[in-house]
Subunit: 100 residues, 2 copies
Amino acid sequence: MPNPILLLNKAFDSRIRLGIMAILMTNERTDFNYLKETLELTDGNLASHISALEQANFIEVSKQFIGKKPNTTYKATPEGKEAFKKHIDGLEQLIRTDNL
Amino acid sequence: MPNPILLLNKAFDSRIRLGIMAILMTNERTDFNYLKETLELTDGNLASHISALEQANFIEVSKQFIGKKPNTTYKATPEGKEAFKKHIDGLEQLIRTDNL
DNA sequence: TAAAGTACTTTGAGATGCAAAGTTAATATA
DNA sequence: TATATTAACTTTGCATCTCAAAGTACTTTA
C-alpha cells in the first residue's frame, strides 16, 4: 500500500478551511459575513484562514460596495477546486482502502 | 444551514491521525512498525500521534513479545470507530451540502 | 564486546490556532 | 460637528501542535 497521507492536502487539515472550501464549491460566490456566521468564527480567525487559502491560490478575493457598504466576496479558483476535489478523492481512498 | 464544522472531530484534523485510524478501521490490529513504514513517519512523530489518539480513548495499546522481541499493537476502540465514522459522515455532509 | 532493533520519551525549534483588541475608512446618527 | 456604527481586517500574544533528532532502556545478534 502506498502512503495514504500523501493523498491529502495539508492546506485542508483544518476543519475551518475545509468548511470554507466546501461552501465555495457549492456557492459560486460568498461574502465575509456569510462565512463568519455560518462557520461561527471571529473576524480575526476567519480572516487568517482566508488569507491562508488565498496565499495557496485556492480562493480569489473581490472587494466592492453594495450601496454604501463595503462588501468582500470570495470565490474558489480553478486550482482551489481541483485541489479540494483531489483531497476529497484522497479521503475516499483512505476510507475505502482494503489495505493489506 | 447549521455550522458544518461541528460535524467534524478536531482529533482528526491531522492527516496522520486520519491515516492511523483509517488503517485501524480495516486492519483489526496493527503494530508500530507497520504504521511507521506505511505512513513514513519517524518514531517520535508516530508515537506522539498515537499517544494523542490513546488519550482520546480512540485506540487501545497492547504490548507483548513475539519470540524475544517486544511488539506493540494498536486497535481502534468502539468509541474510536464510532468517532471516526461520525467524522466521515460529517465530511460527506460537508461535501454534499447543497447549502443555501 | 559491539552493533542493531523495538518502542518509546525528551528536547527544542518552528508553525499554527485562537480570541481579543486595535485599525482604517466609510457612513449614520445626535 | 462629534460620536457611533459597520465592514473587514491586522496585530498581539499566548497556547497548542508538529516535527526531527537525540536520548533511553532493554534485548538480541554478530
